[in-house]
């Protein structure tokens, strides 16, 4: 039996899957299109809901895979299946012969400039949640200068027909609550507002963080959408929004606006799905064999999924799914002669 497995994508799900496969006695290869392993986790500072360090978490994911053959700055160019085996050609001209493939290509962040009314990349003080996370990590962003008032806009590019993304991105609400608390810690005198549609506090500890945000940090939660952003003569942002609970429109001047950009399909999904002969859903994420009982398995034998390649997920969900995917591969390959 060919005990070699290809992992496409070197983010948290791919790293966990590769580590688990090696534990189970398989030889894993990781192909990663960027020059570093870690995916989006490289960019985060602290993880919800308990503010665990992202860097430390990544380090723990990287340690077990230090010996694994990894191809960085590399993509899959062609895949051909003969019997139960795949011959995979990479962009560095290497050819791998594997028995199974895990697609852990993850997600892309919604490009905030597409929501033109919010003025990202037009008005200086409009940033994304990813930009803010980078600021927390590095301590440096020229757009953030001791803000006295900060707004967070939930659901940017998510649950949005006009943006062609109907899906909820799952993690943005809790991220907004987390970041609101963090920025309040950094600027205790600042007034912080969260403009939300619904507050999806489904995970363990999320509701507690939400309550703490209100009681300890004084974050104001306004149920309503932001309709437009403009700049006044001093460069501050003038935001128009709706407060649906008091049934009133409101206008507020802020020093900083943070757009909670959603998870959308990875830009490479169309190409990958064509190479692997797998289906994508209407939302552009990969389609598994069955959403309930076989969510880590593809419709084609030997193709498996882990992490956000099949839809928005939290980090623990991605890691658990990576473990499940590795186990599913073990079960699949054990049946081969």
């Amino acid at each position: 039996m060919n005990k070699q497995v290809l992992v496409i994508g070197g983010g948290p799900a791919g790293l966990e899957a590769a580590g688990q496969l090696e534990n189970l006695g398989y030889k894993a290869y990781i192909v990663e299109k960027s020059d570093k392993l870690g995916g989006h986790l490289l960019k985060w500072d602290r993880l919800f809901p308990e503010s665990i360090s992202a860097a430390e978490t990544l380090q723990k994911l990287l340690e077990p895979v230090g010996h694994i053959t990894t191809f960085l700055d590399c993509t899959v160019v062609s895949v051909s299946k003969t019997g139960e085996h795949f011959s995979v050609q990479l962009s560095n001209d290497a050819t791998l012969n594997v028995s199974a493939i895990i697609v852990s290509a993850g997600f892309s962040l919604f490009p905030a400039e597409k929501k033109e009314e919010y003025g990202y990349n037009i008005y200086n003080r409009v940033i994304t949640s990813a930009d803010l996370e980078d600021f927390f990590k590095t301590g440096s962003d020229s757009r953030i200068q001791n803000p006295k008032s900060v707004g967070f806009v939930h659901c940017v590019g998510s649950r949005d027909e006009k943006a062609c993304n109907r899906q909820c991105s799952k993690v943005c609400c809790i991220t907004a609550v987390k970041q609101a608390c963090e920025i309040k810690e950094q600027y205790p005198d600042a007034d912080i507002y969260c403009f939300y549609m619904d507050l999806r506090m489904y995970g363990r500890g999320y509701e507690d963080l939400y309550l703490e945000a209100q009681s300890k940090y004084g974050i104001r939660f306004i149920r309503g959408r932001v309709s437009e952003v403009a700049e006044d003569e001093t460069g501050k942002l003038v935001i128009k929004a709706e407060d649906t609970l008091s049934s009133k429109p409101l206008k507020i001047t802020l020093d900083l606006l943070v757009l909670m950009v959603g998870m959308i399909k990875n830009a490479d999904n169309e190409n990958l799905s064509s190479l692997l002969n797998t289906r994508l859903g209407d939302d552009g994420f990969f389609q598994s064999a069955s959403p309930i009982l076989r969510s880590t398995e593809g419709e084609i034998a030997g193709i498996f999924f882990a992490g956000a390649s099949t839809g928005p997920k939290t980090l623990p969900e991605s890691i658990n799914e990576a473990k499940a995917s590795a186990l599913a591969i073990h079960g699949y390959l054990s049946k081969q002669k």
């Binding site: 033109e116 037009i122 437009e228 403009a230 700049e231 003569e233 003038v238």
Partner: protein, 338 residues
């Protein structure tokens, strides 16, 4: 502000605008509000630039005011539009240009509705035939007259004798550009620059030497609307929208306002007087008000037309301070001569 962010959006909302051979339809009300604007448009394109722009006395209102006031149903509106297109077809034209922004919105809405519901187009064709024995082709290109001036802005700049510049200081004039709501708010892809950051007037101002002002209530409606204005009791609501805009633009100290709709310059010009009477408040330098222009008037000023031939004497908010600022020579005594 990050200017190249806007430039990126403008590059995504480009639209094809032919520069010649148009069938031109006028506005119901512009000739009353700003009497020389349409005449200036035709003089520029036909006589100054030698282009083929045709109009016929047989065309009518587009029906927009009646439609937006709920006086006529959509099918009636579409049949009126169909007749306009039939006149265009009979005259041998394929490019259609409307003077009025509401008309542009009506024509765009009609064509888009027919695209999605072809059975409605069939019904309208039958209605038109029954009523007038006319048939029509749909325009290949639909433009607003400001799209055409936008397209020709560089040619106008080349031929210009005046610039949107303070002659004394050499500084560009600070210009507020106000876009009519029916230009791109309904169909963003049909407007140059889209709905959030339209470029049609910005492009003209840039080409003619001015500096654009972006202020918080830039996108806000002037308040003209239809129902709120046509019903006298509602006019306070209209006024309050204009008031909101002026309060918002005031800190930016604009020298002038340029608009591309019939109703918008009317309101922005006239309501300044009402606000001064009601609140004792004025805007602009030396409390002289902020002069409001149509884009044709500005094109005319830039090309050196006599201000009184452009109908600027009809403006409620005096334009002379701006003319002086631009260094335009004019005869005060001729202002009201026929």
């Amino acid at each position: 502000m990050i200017f190249n962010g806007k430039q990126r959006i403008w590059s995504e909302y480009q639209k094809e605008i032919p520069d010649d051979h148009y069938f031109y339809v006028r506005s119901c009300i512009r000739q009353n509000f700003f009497p020389a604007s349409e005449k200036t448009f035709l003089d520029i394109v036909q006589n100054r630039l030698g282009l083929d722009f045709f109009e016929t006395e047989h065309h009518t209102t587009c029906g927009g005011i009646a439609y937006h006031s709920d006086s006529i149903p959509q099918e009636t509106l579409m049949t009126i539009v169909a007749r306009q297109f039939a006149l265009m077809t009979d005259a041998g034209y394929k490019n259609y240009v409307a003077s009025c922004i509401t008309s542009f919105g009506i024509y765009t809405e009609t064509l888009e509705t027919w695209r999605h519901y072809p059975e409605l187009e069939t019904k309208v064709r039958e209605s038109l035939w029954k009523a007038t024995k006319r048939e029509f082709n749909k325009p290949e290109y639909l433009a607003h007259a400001s799209d055409v001036i936008y397209k020709l802005r560089d040619r106008i700049a080349t031929a210009s004798v005046n610039r949107l510049v303070n002659k004394k200081t050499g500084e560009p004039l600070k210009v507020v550009e106000h876009i009519g709501c029916h230009y791109s708010k309904m169909f963003p892809s049909k407007g140059v620059g889209g709905a959030e950051y339209p470029y049609v007037l910005t492009g003209m101002i840039e080409a003619w030497g001015g500096e654009i002002i972006d202020y918080p209530e830039r996108r806000h409606c002037c308040g003209f609307g239809f129902r709120q204005y046509l019903v006298k009791a509602n006019r306070g609501y209209s006024l309050s929208n204009t008031h909101k805009k002026f309060e918002s633009m005031k800190p930016f100290k604009p020298d002038m306002i340029i608009t591309n709709c019939p109703g918008c310059p009317y309101f922005l010009d006239r309501w300044q007087y009402v606000i001064s009477e009601m609140e004792g408040k004025t805007y602009g330098e030396n409390s002289q008000g902020i002069p409001v222009f149509t884009y044709e008037e500005v094109a005319g000023l830039v090309l050196g037309y006599d201000p009184w031939d452009l109908g600027l004497q009809i403006h409620q908010t005096g334009v002379e301070p701006l003319l002086d600022k631009m260094g335009i020579i004019y005869n005060k005594a001729d202002k009201y001569k026929l």
